[in-house]
């Protein structure tokens, strides 16, 4: 839900992804991992990108941070703007001023995302070192402070410890420390809690919330977990088959979906209300990103599909000021703000 610290709503969004297209060339086929995705994040806001595995959300995050290996990947179209700058057009040197300093990223599996042969303290201090902050002693002090801030007990002693000496939750805290070290304006969190136990998940999300409040950071949260998204996000972009099929304020979208896919997602989450509850998975399976169906990508699995859906790709329709959906026949909203 909205953090109390959400401040300015700029005219220029902090992050704007417009019609991003990313292809992977493997063998003879081309996988359209991201197929025209658009969303925006305002300063101080938490935007969630929600979707199943394979929908293109991680690739989108990697594109924003210019982490895609090209080849086999290729950014085939669209644009990414951060604070007005075209991210994809920046020189390597200019980009290095942004990565780590103005945008931080937290990855999913902290064990493989931390370098096993360097101490945790060294890796955090590296963020300072690379961006030319202070002397070695200062960097060390600040790193220890960070470790304390993210909740690692006995931080000074643990500075020299190695990643494998920490538990999963602790490692994730270290990753977060590295990402927020220089007080970035935007934090991208790619499934930060997926690899963790539920109880640790909550702790990590709380940590992220408090850091966001303290630094006034915006956050892009990539997740497939509806519960986490509902708790934390201001806005949500629901992705399917490489496109954003619905977007808008999180509470509204998740309580009152306009896209059949969002509805199906919500229905598939067990409510735990009755013992005899039947699971309602979404019929069918996610599309093969190399052979997308003609027309609307979701139509083979959609219970409301009609002729039109097979024939042509659905247009993007605005639903009121803040919501949008890509569907020929979006669902009726509770407040009647329809097409």
């Amino acid at each position: 839900m909205s953090a109390a610290a959400v401040t300015e709503v700029d005219d220029v969004p902090l992050l704007e992804v417009r019609d991003l297209r990313v292809e992977f060339h493997s063998g003879l086929e081309v996988v359209h991992a991201v197929n025209g995705a658009s969303f925006r994040v305002n300063a101080g806001e938490t935007a969630a990108v929600l979707g199943e595995s394979g929908c293109g959300k991680s690739v989108t995050a990697a594109s924003i941070m210019r982490l895609l290996p090209q080849p086999p990947a290729r950014i085939a179209g669209g644009s990414i703007h951060f604070a007005g700058d075209d991210v994809l057009a920046l020189s390597r040197r200019a980009w290095r001023q942004v990565a780590g300093r103005r945008i931080g990223m937290v990855f999913q599996d902290a064990l493989s995302s931390l370098n096993p042969v360097f101490s945790v303290g060294w890796q955090i201090a590296e963020t300072f070192r690379v961006h030319g902050e202070g002397s070695a002693a200062e960097r060390r002090a600040r790193s220890i402070e960070l470790l304390e801030r993210v909740g690692i007990p006995g931080a000074a002693d643990r500075f020299g410890d190695y990643p494998h000496q920490f538990s999963g939750g602790m490692r994730q805290r270290v990753m977060i420390a590295m990402a927020v070290a220089l007080g970035p304006r935007l934090l991208i969190a790619d499934e930060p809690t997926t690899a963790l136990d539920v109880t640790i998940q909550a702790q990590i999300m709380d940590l992220l919330a408090s850091l966001r409040a303290e630094y006034g950071m915006a956050m892009v949260l990539i997740s497939h977990d509806l519960g986490v998204v509902y708790e934390v996000a201001d806005t949500v972009a629901v992705m399917y088959a490489g496109r954003v099929v619905e977007s808008g304020p999180c509470a509204q979208v998740l309580r009152d979906p306009a896209h059949p896919y969002t509805l199906a997602l919500l229905r598939s989450v067990p409510t735990g209300k009755s013992k005899a509850e039947k699971l309602r998975p979404i019929v069918g399976s996610p599309p093969d990103m190399a052979r997308l169906p003609a027309g609307c990508a979701f139509h083979p699995r959609c219970e409301f599909a009609r002729e039109e859906c097979r024939r042509s790709a659905p247009p993007r329709r605005a639903l009121g000021v803040t919501r949008a959906v890509e569907c020929h026949f979006p669902l009726e909203l509770a407040n009647g703000a329809g097409v």
């Binding site: 290095r96 780590g100 370098n115 990402a179």
Partner: protein, 305 residues
């Protein structure tokens, strides 16, 4: 760490013992050990006298005991050809081979790591292709042939380098150059492979996301993680260097342990052969322990168990 080393030392001792036992029994397999020690033209009487003296007609276990105590005292017998204790002869030749091996290996590691990392930095580029080609050559070219071709080209045809023997620095160029080829080629491939692996890993992504420059990513993050692979291969190659040294010393006429052994074999001087084997084996085992120490120092995960 000490426990680890202690265990390794024990393993090596066992291995050495196994080797000694093997040599012992292998020799007695042939039926007439005396004929291995003595020159071909030794008379029957001489053979019998020899057998008597060394107790080849005593029970096997008694012989083994005697053999072991001899070995432990450094008593490998007397070299027929040199007419000196075999151990002396071997130890005299040892430093030559050792210096050859150390210089070669050091060069191989330094050059291999350098070339391999630069190749990984720009995969598919010119440097990478050159590196791959040279590795292939190193792994495929018979060292004796390269040595001979080298002599043909640089000594006979061009006259730049001497054909054989030891002496000043010029005498070192071809032997080291030939000996280098295989370990260098292999190290380049290994370093390149390990680096490419490292460069595709998640922690490198994290580093890039932090804004770390590509140079640091390659030569600090990735390289450090390749350290283990390098040490492993370099260690293995030390064993192979001995093989190569045999050839190189033979072709270039260097008075090292390798040449000593081949000559000893050709001249049926078994005491010398035996001494060479055992001394070389001990050196190699000691080296392996050294490598293990490096292992532990390089990878923190091993250190803490």
């Amino acid at each position: 760490m000490m426990r680890f080393l202690g265990r390794r030392a024990l393993h090596s001792a066992v291995a050495l013992f196994a080797l000694i036992t093997l040599v012992f029994f292998l020799v007695r397999l042939t039926g007439d050990p005396a004929s291995l020690y003595l020159p071909i033209d030794a008379s029957i009487a001489q053979r019998e006298a020899f057998s008597e003296r060394h107790g080849f007609n005593r029970p096997v276990l008694e012989q083994f005991g005697g053999f072991l105590s001899d070995v432990l005292r450094g008593e490998f017998g007397t070299s027929i050809r040199k007419e000196r204790p075999a151990l002396d002869v071997v130890l005299r030749a040892f430093p030559t081979t050792l210096s050859l091996a150390v210089i070669t290996m050091t060069l191989a590691v330094v050059l291999g790591v350098a070339v391999g990392s630069v190749a990984a930095y720009r995969p598919g580029g010119v440097f990478d292709r050159l590196a791959t080609l040279s590795s292939l050559g190193g792994a495929s070219a018979p060292d004796f042939w390269v040595a001979i071709t080298g002599i043909l080209l640089f000594a006979v045809a061009l006259g730049w380098l001497p054909t054989s023997g030891t002496g000043d620095w010029r005498h070192w160029i071809m032997p080291v150059g030939v000996l280098l080829l295989r370990p260098f080629g292999l190290l380049v491939q290994v370093v390149r492979g390990a680096m490419l692996n490292a460069l595709a890993s998640a922690y490198v992504k994290t580093a890039r996301a932090k804004g770390v420059g590509e140079g640091t990513v390659v030569f600090v993050h990735a390289l450090r993680n390749s350290g283990l692979a390098v040490v492993t291969v370099a260690g293995d190659q030390m064993v192979g260097i001995v093989n190569g040294a045999v050839i190189v010393e033979t072709v270039f006429g260097w008075p090292g342990v390798g040449k000593l052994m081949i000559d000893a074999v050709m001249q049926r001087d078994f005491a010398l052969v035996q001494a060479t084997i055992l001394i070389t084996a001990s050196a190699i085992f000691a080296l392996n322990i050294l490598i293990d120490v490096c292992y532990v120092l390089l990878d923190p995960r091993i250190r803490r168990g």
